[in-house]
C-alpha cells in the first residue's frame, strides 16, 4: 500500500467515524442517558482490527478520539472518549488474539461485545472520579447491559459490512487482471 493510499484510507475512516458519531445522535436509544448509544463508531475500529493491523487501529482510535472530541464535544468529552477508546481497543485486540481462527462466524461479534463493554467500563471509571460516585454505581449495571446489547448489534453490522467490503475489495482486482490478460 502506498503512503498516499494509506493517508486516504485513514482520512476516509476518520471522517466516517465522525459522521457515524454525529448520526448516532439522531437515533434515540435512551433519551438523556449519557453513554447508552449504538456505538456505530466502533465498526470503524473493528474494520481496522480485521482489515488492517494493530498499529493502524491504535492510530485510528486516537484520530477518532481527537476529531470527534474537537467537533462533537469538548476536552472533558475527549477524556471520556479516550479512556473508553483505549480500554475497548485493548480488550478487542486481546480477545481477537485469544480467539485466533476459532469461531469464524461470531468471532467479530464477540470482539465487538468486549469492545463495547470495555468502552463503557473506561467511561465509567472516568465518571467515578469526576462526578458523585454513588450515582455512577447506580448507573453501572444498566450501562454494562446496554454495552452487551449494543455490542452485539454493532458486531452484526460490522460483520456484514466487512463481508461486503471484502467482496468489493476482491472485485476490482479481478477486473484489473482481465485487461492485462
Amino acid at each position: 500500500m502506498t503512503a498516499a493510499k494509506r493517508v486516504a484510507q485513514f482520512g476516509i475512516l476518520t471522517s466516517l467515524a465522525l459522521v457515524l458519531g454525529w448520526t448516532e445522535r439522531f437515533i434515540p436509544v435512551a433519551q438523556g442517558i449519557p453513554g447508552i448509544k449504538l456505538g456505530l463508531g466502533n465498526t470503524i475500529l473493528l474494520y481496522a482490527i480485521y482489515m488492517m493491523d494493530a498499529k493502524s487501529s491504535v492510530l485510528l482510535m486516537l484520530l477518532k478520539v481527537l476529531v470527534t472530541g474537537f467537533f462533537l464535544s469538548n476536552i472533558g468529552g475527549m477524556l471520556y472518549s479516550l479512556a473508553g477508546g483505549v480500554l475497548s481497543l485493548a480488550a478487542m485486540l486481546l480477545v481477537k488474539k485469544l480467539l485466533g481462527n476459532r469461531l469464524p462466524r461470531i468471532g467479530i461479534i464477540i470482539v465487538s461485545v468486549f469492545g463495547a463493554v470495555f468502552h463503557n467500563i473506561g467511561q465509567l471509571s472516568v465518571a467515578f472520579f469526576t462526578v458523585l460516585y454513588r450515582a455512577v454505581l447506580v448507573y453501572t449495571p444498566p450501562l454494562l447491559v446496554s454495552g452487551l446489547i449494543m455490542g452485539v448489534l454493532t458486531g452484526v453490522v460490522a460483520k456484514y459490512t466487512l463481508r461486503a467490503l471484502k467482496y468489493y475489495d476482491d472485485r476490482p482486482a479481478k477486473k484489473k487482471e482481465n485487461p492485462d490478460a
Binding site: 435512551a30 433519551q31 438523556g32 442517558i33 449519557p34 447508552i36 464535544s73 469538548n74 472533558g76 468529552g77 471520556y80 465518571a127 469526576t130 462526578v131 458523585l132 460516585y133 454513588r134 450515582a135 447506580v138 448507573y139 444498566p142 450501562l143
Partner: protein, 179 residues
C-alpha cells in the same frame, strides 16, 4: 457419651431460657410504653398531630377520629424510640462535594454557577425536580425525566439521580426516611 449428655443438657437449658427471654421482652414493652409514650407524643409525631386540629374545623371529622384511634396503636408498636421522620430532600453535588441540600416540597430554582462558564439550573416545583437549564453541550441532563416521589425507584436508568457529566453536577433525590 458424656459429650452428648452435655450437649443435650445445654440444648435443654437453652430451650428453657428461650421463652423466659421472650417473656422478658414482652413484659418490657408494656412497662416501658407508658413511660416513653408521653414525652414521645410531644416530640416525635409533632408535625402529624399539628394537622388534625386544623382539619376538623374545615370539614372532615372522620380522618381525625381515625388518626386518634390509630395513634395509640402506633405508640404500642414502637415503645422505645419513636423515629422522627425526615422529609424528602434534594441534594446537589459538584463532583463528589456537596453543594447544597434543599427541601423537596418548597418550590425553588437553584443556580449552580461554577465560575468557569459551567452553569446548571435546577428547578423544584413542589412535585418534581428537574434540570431546567445547563450550559453543557450534550444537554442530556435537561432531557432526563423529572424525579418525583412516585418514580424515583423505577425511573429510567438513573433512578433518583440527575447527572450532568460534562459539568460534573449531580442532583440526588433523598426520599422521606426515618432517622
Amino acid at each position: 457419651m458424656r459429650g452428648i449428655r452435655i450437649t443435650v443438657c445445654i440444648v435443654c437449658i437453652a430451650f428453657m431460657l428461650l421463652p423466659l427471654s421472650g417473656c422478658g421482652q414482652d413484659n418490657a414493652i408494656p412497662t416501658a410504653a407508658p413511660a416513653s409514650s408521653e414525652p414521645a407524643a410531644t416530640t416525635g409525631p409533632a408535625p402529624e398531630t399539628a394537622e388534625p386540629p386544623a382539619t376538623p374545623s374545615e370539614a372532615a371529622d372522620a380522618p381525625a377520629t381515625e388518626e386518634l384511634a390509630s395513634s395509640p396503636e402506633s405508640t404500642k408498636r414502637m415503645p422505645f424510640i419513636l423515629p422522627t421522620v425526615l422529609p424528602d430532600e434534594v441534594a446537589i453535588y459538584i463532583g463528589n462535594a456537596l453543594y447544597t441540600v434543599v427541601p423537596f416540597d418548597t418550590p425553588d430554582v437553584i443556580i449552580v454557577d461554577q465560575g468557569d462558564g459551567r452553569v446548571n439550573e435546577i428547578t423544584l416545583d413542589g412535585e418534581k425536580v428537574y434540570m431546567s437549564h445547563s450550559t453543557c453541550e450534550g444537554q442530556d441532563c435537561t432531557q432526563q425525566e423529572p424525579i418525583t416521589p412516585e418514580n424515583y425507584q423505577d425511573r429510567l436508568v438513573l433512578l433518583n439521580y440527575i447527572l450532568c457529566l460534562p459539568n460534573q453536577v449531580t442532583v440526588e433525590y433523598i426520599p422521606e426516611r426515618e432517622e
